[in-house]
Symmetry: D2
Subunit: 275 residues, 4 copies
């Protein structure tokens, strides 16, 4: 059982929380705690052994903690995700494989593509795929169609697995801190289109990928995970794209693992990752 | 102020400790906690803001915690180290530079070399250097001489910065968990002599270095830090030695930082590193 | 078009080879060359633009080069592999996905498992799967069955994708430098069984994986690629196994890419990798 | 002996060059070659065993190669550098240590600081240090003073080892491809001032450093080397600065090694690094 808490900092928070847990004879298996001194904000993640009433524990915690506390007792342990894609297969396939062998930490509810091409791989894994084209319609209409399809499913997160359309702030607001994107560069380098082309032209020696929550501003949301790989002068833009796919797959997998194991807290534009 | 505790695990340890701190109006700035379920052992590192009587806090903690608790309240904040060397300059120089600019996290009390060559660099930094040759005498006599010189200094750790003599268990027992070594391989690969030659002959694609506490068994003590770098077919043994020096310097620096910032706890043959 | 050559070294080898290519108006797009001074051995990989008769070029090269030259002009550009597996899905699935989307650099001819469980994922990708159990029969008989099945296919390499049986030297000799294995440790550390358990007990801070050609001696063949990831005190053996799978998948994928793009030459127990 | 050549690409370049070397009975120990297909440009680095007349070989090569060829036969094997610093000691100290033990690959001719504080460490190594303050004078006058001091020394490169003044294009033009800078970020992320503060505010999970040639545009010159290290939510800006120093030191050391071993060719805004 996992406990995620963030609130403004004050003396005695750990004692209050640990005291409550002890009263209920709950053993702390693992505890991570962080105080951001600049913000005066307290974050903790606690893994507990033992059985308790989650709602009651939440209420008891709320009674003892500052009024701005965000308390999450035992976040949904059987999570579900939806996946939005375009044409590139690598991130989606990795998710489908892990889902198939029950190592994703979540169940894939459905996949939506603005192109049809990835329907074939979804079919091989018996995962519902919806082709919702963005062509010939306004962004508003396109996003309304996405929402209508998504509305048919229960899910905890929308994963943008190389989904190459920019979603509007209006769309994102419907799913606060529920949309996770893999961006094909080491943000904040190469924001926007064609990052590998930009990287090639700049002659960089490393390329990267960034998984982040999507907020209103393009490529500006809280970063969950980043990784890089070495490149050199012999890499064409195409080679960088190819190598980039490997790191994109790895970073998105890592970020999903962290999020799905309830190891990420978000405050304003930053994450606290208890990995 | 830092608090390091390890003891056998039971329900309520965090509550006990945090309760005591709260009673003294001490704020927990940072807390790391680990329970090793296999061993049933609890480890914590707590950074505290506020002033308190260390001895009293230790006694109070001891009264509440299991009898096997190892409690370290506010470990010596002005640490001192001695350094043992042979002929290679890279690790020693890195330590001398950090010491000179007050970023080592400790003060270098003295340097002892079984060869004389590194006396010159110590002199440039006004650090006492003692040449104690191992030649023409037994290991017992050699180690007795080392001990006699060391006895003139107060120190918290002995750093073997490429000291190429094997110290006897008898010597090590005088300084339990106080001797830190940098080994020029990714242990447990290539234990013993000439690891780079072994690595070359095996055709490995990565070489590494390992910083560890020295215990009775050669190259078998608790590992503090390890890093690797890529090599390839074009590396001769000499090239591996050269590249290895870079990683040896970096790993020893990292391990010393962790140890000197009181982030490492040791139990049996393993470390818990709260980095 | 790719040209791979190795031979004993002498003055003028590059001139001879480049001269021959120039006579046929072939442009060198990329050239890598290595002389191992210890062995007195010359290695080169040349990418050429232009059309030529491979057999004739081979003959012409052989006429100019030392008699021990191993010349490979335009190695099979449409390679095929077979895959041997046991129960773990991660490496096989990665290969099947890349094969499905034509980015493997080879075609998967068939998969053989000594357990049946991975037949299901092969079926989803329409790849022939053969269950050949090792149980209740001698190793000789088991390997004979493997050979009989393999004999029905043309292939360039046998990939041991977490195949947990040790193959006899007799079997391996049938497929010289054609068998590629992923070993779940940073060789030569933790040779043999249960490397993650060994790593856990040693308290290492990094774990790795090694892809290598299989020769007569277990885990002793020429290394193609190695990578590591960080672990810490909080990792159980199970956590190491889980993290290890990620790195195993990545290292095997990297090694296969190198081999299938004809970037690896082997001499005695080492590789020259022109990556 | 090293040979560096770049020119526009055409068929037969390797044959021409290798033929010339063979005529003089020079053995190619190591050869790296790269053709940038986009630019139609050929680059090579050749290590040769044997003795020859450099000037004559240059002339012979020029006669055979395209007229735009840049030919560098046996670049100055006893290189000298000057170092410009401000207040931070880490990069300078690393250079001084390597210089002192003859492993830098060059000799430090002198150090110039716009602050006086690093004179002390230079004095310890008997290296001339000049304090040229930028305060109370125009940039023109400041740079004139720098040039006057530099004019007293022969040197191959000016190393900006955390020199915190922006040099004018006019100054840089005096030393084309001779000025090497370490920038404290993973370019092109966080161009300009306070990159670690920018990184902290963006909540990145990796920070980096970039060594590059300085050209007219700030932070825009050809990149030689880049590296990164992981950071997390617990890092303050100050912690990032501290960790950044480690990576800055390592990247500058690596870049200097590459440049001083004649492994870097530059064309327009990019490097070809034969490492």
């Amino acid at each position: 059982m996992v406990l995620l808490i963030q609130c403004s900092d004050k003396v005695g928070l750990v004692a209050s929380i640990a005291g409550l847990l002890q009263q209920q004879n709950l053993n702390i298996v693992s505890m991570r705690e962080h105080v951001d001194a600049t913000q005066g904000r307290f974050y903790t993640r606690i893994e507990i052994n033992g059985v308790t009433d989650s709602t009651l524990l939440s209420q008891n915690l709320a009674a003892e903690l500052p009024s701005d506390a965000v308390i999450n007792v035992n976040p949904n342990p059987t999570k579900r995700i939806t996946v939005l894609v375009t044409k590139e297969y690598h991130c989606l396939s990795d998710i489908l494989i892990r889902n198939h062998f029950n190592t994703l930490g979540a169940t894939v509810a459905c996949v939506i593509g603005n192109h049809a091409v990835l329907g074939e791989i979804c079919a091989r894994f018996d995962i519902p795929f919806y082709h919702i084209s963005h062509e010939g319609i306004t962004k508003d209409v396109f996003e309304e169609k996405l929402q209508q399809t998504l509305a048919n499913y229960d899910f905890d997160f929308i994963v943008l697995a190389k989904f190459m359309r920019i979603l509007s702030p209006t769309f994102i607001e419907h799913y606060p801190l529920k949309v996770i994107n893999i961006h094909h560069s080491f943000l904040p380098a190469f924001i926007g289109a064609n990052p590998y082309k930009q990287a090639y032209e700049r002659g960089v020696k490393l390329i990267g990928a960034t998984a982040h929550y999507v907020t209103n501003n393009l490529d500006e949301g809280p970063i969950i995970a980043q990784q890089i790989i070495s490149v050199n002068h012999s890499y064409t833009t195409g080679d960088m794209v190819k190598s980039g796919k490997e790191i994109e797959t790895a970073v998105l997998a890592k970020a999903l693992q962290l999020v799905l194991e309830d190891k990420v807290l978000v405050f304003q534009n930053k994450t606290v990752v208890f990995d």
